[in-house]
Amino acid sequence: MRTATHKVMAAIWAGLAIGLALPAAAQQHEGHNQPLKINAPKGPQALQPLPTNLPGWMNSRGYNEYFYKRGAYNFDIYNVDEMARDFNAIAVGHSFAYEDLVTGKAAKLETDTFNRIDWVLKHPPKNMPGEKFLSPTFARKYGILEHVFDWTHVLHAQTIDVLASTDLTHEQKDKEIDALWKFYKGTVPYTISGLPLNMEMLDGQAYSGAFREKYPKVNGLFWGYHWLQGAVYDMLWTSRSLSDAKSQYELVGERYREVELYKTNRDFMPMFAETSPIFSRRFPEIANAFDNLHMLHDMVNDILASDWLSDKQKDEQIKRAIYMVVDAPHVGEKAGDFNPNDPLHDHRFMDGQPGMGMMKMSTPQLMYMPEMGWMSMSECHHCSMPMNNDPKRGSGATISAQGWTMEVRCALCARDMAAQTEGRAIIRANTEDPNRPLILISDEEGNYTTNIKEVVFIEVEGPHPSCSSWSRAFTNRAAFDAYLQANEDDEELKGAKPLTLAEWSAKSGKEPETYEKKQGPVPNPYKLGGGGK
């Protein structure tokens, strides 16, 4: 037990240490915690020239195609057939839109094209189509872009296959996803960078915003696809059985098909770490590559939608867009690097989330997230205390509801945040066993179904700085008892009773005394004009 004297002495020591350390450290990191001022003028005068040092492969006209890394898990996405079909339809949606954009049918993109895509989304194909066969003109005109897209889509497909496998253990999946990343980067030169790139810079080009402005419905579809492509990762990563995955996809897929595809009021494209924060933290390079890929989609869309660009300029700007997100301009750079005078090389990431680069007007500590406002990714979104979601700690959870996924620090924070949100929700919570995460799926009234029938909870509500110790989930009563035994010195846990799921679900905590609403310099940076809109 700590003594009062000990605490006071240590407090004085800590205070002095902080005081002495600050000036030197502040100088060393000057500017790192400031939002970059991105100058994002629009139109012909702002068009940037094509770099002269393009990598050789970018001008290659040779045929060059590689297939999947070998693995018994390939095509296991079909274990969750409904999900597989939705992904197949996404490939059709991409292709139809691109083909019509480059074959003089852009004027009907919001009507005929949208309706054709929508029909496919509602009647998804059984098998994955080859995109270049559905968009042959686009593939011929922008062959190298098609290569970049295809190869990164292979990474998407294979990582999902691994996660949907019923043959691999969780540990094997973890290793194989690392191996897939190496295969992705090592097999061909046209790979997307795994560095966090500054999203505001990428969305601050001379043409940025054109597509979403002219074709809001089709742009909504694109961003809806990107939402699903991110949302399934944490869903699958926390699943330990097909049943876990299917029960979650029932809700995720419904949300995608009924809401996310048809949203036309998003401020920005869905970011990978916003929908799958756990996977993004474990595999930040993959998360960053997918965000960079999705940003490349946006840039290409904007270029093709900018009528003031000639065909030659479109070709050059698409090459320039590819150049910005691949490895070539970032050789020797690493995550965290920051050059205040060159946003292309701003590789800062959000504190607590290495799988997410800087957003519009963000700092590593504070970002604006559509529908959530200003927030920190390193803190619990219910009680504002620092996060530690390492599954080995046995605490921490995420909540998915209304299209967002938020990290929280304890079971109470998860339950109460879900209770305060309309509609169905998924809680993915750590338990004492890292191999058995708890998955709770709620109905509209907050009644839960669970993947662990014997689950019990501890909840002895106290101050939130320690909520991860007094509010937790356990796979069974024995684990609960063992936890109490291991913490017998903790006065606040003495006499704690195990709560069943029904008892725990009906409870409601107090408003966390630690909660703080973050304030940014403006209410919503995406409503300022420029870059986004």
Binding site: P354, S376, A419, A486, E513, E516
Partner: protein, 229 residues
Amino acid sequence: MREIAAALLPLPKGSDGAHLPAACLNARPTACVRPPVSGPAYTMAPGFTKTLVPSHRDQVAPLAHEADQDKTMNAFKTLISTLAAALLLFGFTTPAQAHETDCPYCQLSVVQDTKEKDNEVVLRYGNKRIEYRCVMCAIAQAKTKFKNDLTILAPSNIKGKHVTITRTAGVWAVKEEKAVFVFAKGSHTECQDRYRALTDGADFDAYVANRKYTEAKKLTLKEMVELSK
């Protein structure tokens, strides 16, 4: 075809699962401490604000299988407590604010309760407890989104006294017999005042006169339910 066939072969043994660069790995427990608000890693940009909350208890508790980490963790816990105390000593803290959210119906911010006045409307639906900006938003949402029984706790003109509205088997009722509802059409940015429950109809005239709501109506619950959309 050969490549497709190769891709379908079993996973080779010893597939490489080497770790990612250190900069990209998950924060360890030692990084779980909230650094001082004025420290370099947490310096807010100009125009950004952030409050600090004291952390006066341990951040984490050990699991049964983590006995070997106990010593490290105890030292860590001590450091956490003392750092928090240090922060208090040096005055780096400010009070936390109330929980804030947007109204799911009108999308405007839910106006927070103050010392003098309650503003937050709470709709209870099963285990859900959803906040709305005004009583009209809550009733309108109840009519369109929720099919089963529910309860709405509407703030009144008196601090600490709520008007309790229920819908049971489709029948709306209000617990407080003398309760009425103010319905003063106007900007929805003032909806928390323009659409408000009063515990006693006798307070209506004074309430609308104070706010200069010249065309305000005094409604029963039935009328309020009809007009809420």
